[in-house]
Amino acid sequence: MIKIKSPKDFWAGMMFLGVGLFFAVWAVVNYQMGSAVRMGPAYFPAVLGGLLALLGGGVVAGSFAIAGPAVPTFHFRPLLLIVVGCVAYGYLMKPLGLVGATAVLVFVSALGGHEFKWKEVTILYVVLIVFSVLVFVKGLTLPFPLWPEALG
C-alpha cells in the first residue's frame, strides 16, 4: 500500500489530472483536430488538456514521495450559505425584485458569519437597499425591477 505523503498535492494533482483529461478527451471526440498548419478547434484544447493531465499526474506522483501538509478542514457552512445566497439573488431578481432579492442575499449570507442578530442584520439590510437603490438604480440607472412582480 503506497502512502499519500502530501494530501494537499494529491488532491490538487487529481483535480488537474481529471480536468485535463476531460478537456482533452472531450475535444478530440467532439471537434475537428485539423493539422499543425490549419489547426482545428480541437487542436489547442487537446494539447493543453494533455499538458494539464501530465502536470496533474506529476503532482500526484510527487505527493507520494515528498511529505506535505494535510488538507485543512473545509468550513462548509459559510461557503454553502454564501453560494446559496448569491445564486438565490440571481434567480429571485425577476420574481422578487431588487428589494426582495437583496433581502435574501443579506440574511442568508449573514447566517454564514459567527454571530447573527436579527436587529443588526435588518439595519444593515435597510442601509444596503437604500444605498443600492440610490446609487445603482437612480444614479447609474441600471434596469432592475425594484419590487416583487406580484405587487407590481
Binding site: 494537499k8 498535492d9 488532491w11 490538487a12 483535480m15 488537474f16 480536468v19 485535463g20 478537456f23 472531450w26 475535444a27 475537428q32 493539422s35 499543425a36 498548419v37 490549419r38 489547426m39 478547434p41 489547442f44 484544447p45 493543453l48 499538458l51 494539464l52 502536470l55 506529476g58 503532482v59 501538509p69 488538507v71 485543512p72 473545509f74 468550513h75 459559510p78 461557503l79 454564501i82 453560494v83 445566497g85 448569491c86 445564486v87 439573488y89 440571481g90 434567480y91 431578481m93 437583496t102 442575499l105 443579506v106 449570507s109 449573514a110 454564514g112 458569519g113 459567527h114 454571530e115 443588526e120 444593515l124 444596503l128 443600492s132 445603482f136 447609474l140 441600471l142 434596469p143 432592475f144
Partner: protein, 502 residues
C-alpha cells in the same frame, strides 16, 4: 522633447474635472479597501468593472488605476497601526512599521510611508513615460510568433513568482487557458465546451470568474478566521519624522524606488515582490541589521517605496504589449476590452489621450493620496473598527449587483458562485488563483497567435526558435524555469514565501 509634449497632453486630459473626479474616487476607494482587511484591489476592481461600462475609457482606467495604487497606500496604514496587512504587498511593512507604532512612533512611520510612496510614484510615472513609447514601437513589429512567445514568457514569469509549488502554478495557468477557450471558436465557429448551454456560447465572462475566485472565496476564507485586532488609535503621535528619520530613510527610499520600478516591469512582478526584495536589501545593507523587526524606519521606507513603484511600473507591459503582468493588470485589460479597445502597442498611437492621460493621472493621484491620506488617517482608523460581519454582506451585495447587471441574467451570478466555491477549494489545496486568471485572459489570444504563426510557417514549429525576438522570449522562459527548478533557488524561493505568510 517629445516626452514633454506627450506628458503635457496627458496632464491636460488628466486635469479635466471629470477625470480628476474619477481619480479622486479611485484613490479614495483604493485607500478604503487597502485599509479594510479582507477585500483587496483585485476584488474591488472586478466589482467595479461592470460599472465602468457606462464611463468613457479614460475615466474608467483612471479610476481603476487609482484603486490599485490607492490600495497600496491604504495597506500600509493598517500594517503600521493594526499589524494586519490590508494588502499582500504591505506584509513586510508590518514587521517594522507596527513595532514603530508600539514605540509610539506611528506618526513618523505613516509619514515616511506616504512620502516614500509619493516619491516612488513620481519616479515610476517618469519611468513609464520614457520606457513605454520605445517598447510599444518594438512591439508594433511583432508578428504572431513573437506574440505567442511573449505570452509564454509572461505566463512562465507569473508562475515563477506565484506562491508554493511550481508545478501547481503552471497547472493553474494551463487550467486558465483551457477555461478561456470555452465558447465559440473564432476560426471555425464551432461551439467548444458549451455542453448545449446557450449562455456559454460567448464564453465565461472574465469579470464573473475574477469576482468568484477573488471575491467570494476570499470572503469565505475570511469567515473562518476569528481574531481580535489590536489598534493603536490613541497614540499616533506627531506625524513629523525627525531629522534622523529622514537621514536614515532617504537612501532606502531611493533603493526601494529603483528596485520596485525594475521589478514592476517584469511580467509577474508588481508590488509584493518589490516590497520583499527591498526589505531584504535594506537589512543586508544596514549597519544595524539587528534593529530590523524592532522598528527600523528603513524597513518601512524601502518596501513602501518599492511596492508603490512596482505597482505603477507594472502598467508598462500592460499598456505597451497588451500583456498583463499580474491579476490587477489582467483586470485592466478586461476593462479595455469592455470599452471595445483592443489592448496592445497600438493603444498609444491610436488613443494617445487615454494612454498619456492615464500616466499623468497616476502622478496626480499620488499627490492626492499624500494630501488626503495623512489628515484622513483618523477616519481610516475608525473604519477599521467596523466588524467584518457588516462588511462581507455589503461586499456580496455589491458584487451580486455588479455581476447581475452585466447581462441581467441570473446565469452570471450562478457562475460567479461556482467559481467562488472553486476558488475556495484552490485556497485549501494551495493553488494560487492569480496565474489562472492570467491564463484565462490570454487563452484565446494565445490560440489565435499560435494558429497564425503555424499557418505562416506552413506548420513548422521551429519558427518560434528561428525568429530572433521570439527565440529570445522562449530562451528567457526556459531560463526562468530552470533557475527556479534548481534546488538552491527553490529553497530560497520557498523561504521568501514562507516569510510572507503572516
Amino acid at each position: 522633447m517629445e516626452i514633454f509634449g506627450n506628458l503635457l497632453l496627458g496632464f491636460t486630459v488628466a486635469v479635466s474635472p471629470l477625470n480628476l473626479l474619477y481619480a479622486l474616487i479611485g484613490v479614495l476607494l483604493g485607500t478604503l479597501i487597502g485599509v479594510l482587511p479582507g477585500i483587496g484591489p483585485v476584488a474591488t476592481i472586478a466589482m467595479l468593472l461592470p460599472i465602468t461600462f457606462n464611463l468613457n475609457p479614460t475615466a474608467a482606467l483612471v479610476m481603476l488605476a487609482g484603486i490599485y495604487y490607492g490600495s497600496q497606500y491604504g495597506g500600509s496604514t493598517t500594517s503600521i497601526l493594526v499589524n494586519l496587512p490590508g494588502e499582500a504587498a504591505s506584509v513586510v511593512t508590518c514587521l517594522d512599521g507596527h513595532q514603530m507604532a508600539r514605540q509610539g512612533r506611528a506618526g513618523p512611520a505613516l509619514a515616511i510611508a506616504a512620502i516614500g510612496s509619493f516619491f516612488a510614484g513620481c519616479v515610476a510615472t517618469l519611468v513609464i513615460a520614457t520606457a513605454a513609447p520605445p517598447l510599444a514601437e518594438v512591439a508594433l513589429k511583432f508578428g504572431p510568433s513573437e506574440y505567442f512567445s511573449l505570452m509564454v514568457l509572461g505566463l512562465v514569469a507569473a508562475t515563477v513568482l506565484a506562491h508554493g509549488s511550481l508545478a501547481k502554478a503552471i497547472a493553474m495557468v494551463v487550467l486558465g487557458l483551457l477555461l478561456g477557450l470555452i465558447g465559440t471558436d473564432v476560426n471555425s465557429g464551432v461551439l467548444r465546451f458549451t455542453f448545449g448551454i446557450p449562455e456559454l456560447s460567448d464564453g465565461i465572462g472574465f469579470v464573473v470568474v475574477a469576482m468568484g475566485v477573488f471575491g467570494i472565496s476570499e470572503i469565505v476564507a475570511n469567515l473562518e478566521l476569528k481574531g481580535a485586532r489590536e489598534v493603536f488609535t490613541s497614540n499616533v503621535g506627531s506625524l513629523m519624522p525627525t531629522r534622523e528619520d529622514f537621514r536614515r530613510s532617504w537612501p532606502a527610499v531611493m533603493r526601494g524606488t529603483a528596485l520596485g520600478s525594475f521589478l514592476g516591469i517584469l511580467p509577474g512582478g508588481g508590488g509584493v515582490l518589490s516590497a520583499f526584495g527591498s526589505y531584504t536589501i535594506e537589512k543586508k545593507l544596514s549597519r544595524h541589521p539587528e534593529q530590523f523587526g524592532k522598528g527600523a524606519i528603513e524597513g518601512v521606507a524601502g518596501p513602501e517605496s518599492a511596492n508603490n513603484a512596482g505597482a505603477q511600473t507594472s502598467f508598462i507591459p500592460m499598456l505597451t504589449l497588451g500583456i498583463p503582468g499580474n491579476a490587477v493588470m489582467a483586470l485592466m485589460i478586461g476593462a479595455l476590452m469592455i470599452q471595445g479597445i483592443a489592448p496592445g502597442p497600438q493603444v498609444m498611437s491610436e488613443k494617445p489621450e487615454l494612454f498619456w492621460g492615464l500616466i499623468a493621472s497616476m502622478w496626480i493621484g499620488n499627490l492626492m493620496l499624500v494630501i488626503l491620506n495623512l489628515p484622513l488617517i483618523g477616519m481610516w482608523i475608525k473604519l477599521l473598527s467596523i466588524p467584518y460581519r457588516y462588511l462581507y454582506p455589503s461586499i456580496l451585495v455589491f458584487m451580486a449587483i455588479g455581476v447581475f447587471s452585466l447581462s441581467n441574467n441570473p446565469w452570471d451570478v450562478l457562475i460567479m458562485a461556482v467559481f467562488g466555491a472553486f476558488g475556495y477549494v484552490c485556497v485549501k489545496l494551495e493553488c494560487e488563483p492569480a496565474p489562472m486568471i492570467l491564463g484565462f485572459i490570454l487563452g484565446p489570444l494565445m490560440e489565435e497567435n499560435l494558429r497564425r504563426a503555424m499557418l505562416l510557417s506552413r506548420g513548422d514549429p521551429t519558427v518560434f526558435f528561428t525568429k530572433p525576438i521570439s527565440a529570445g522570449f522562449i530562451i528567457a522562459s526556459v531560463f526562468l524555469l530552470v533557475i527556479v527548478a534548481l534546488p538552491a533557488i527553490r529553497k530560497k524561493r520557498e523561504q521568501v514565501f514562507v516569510e510572507e505568510q503572516p
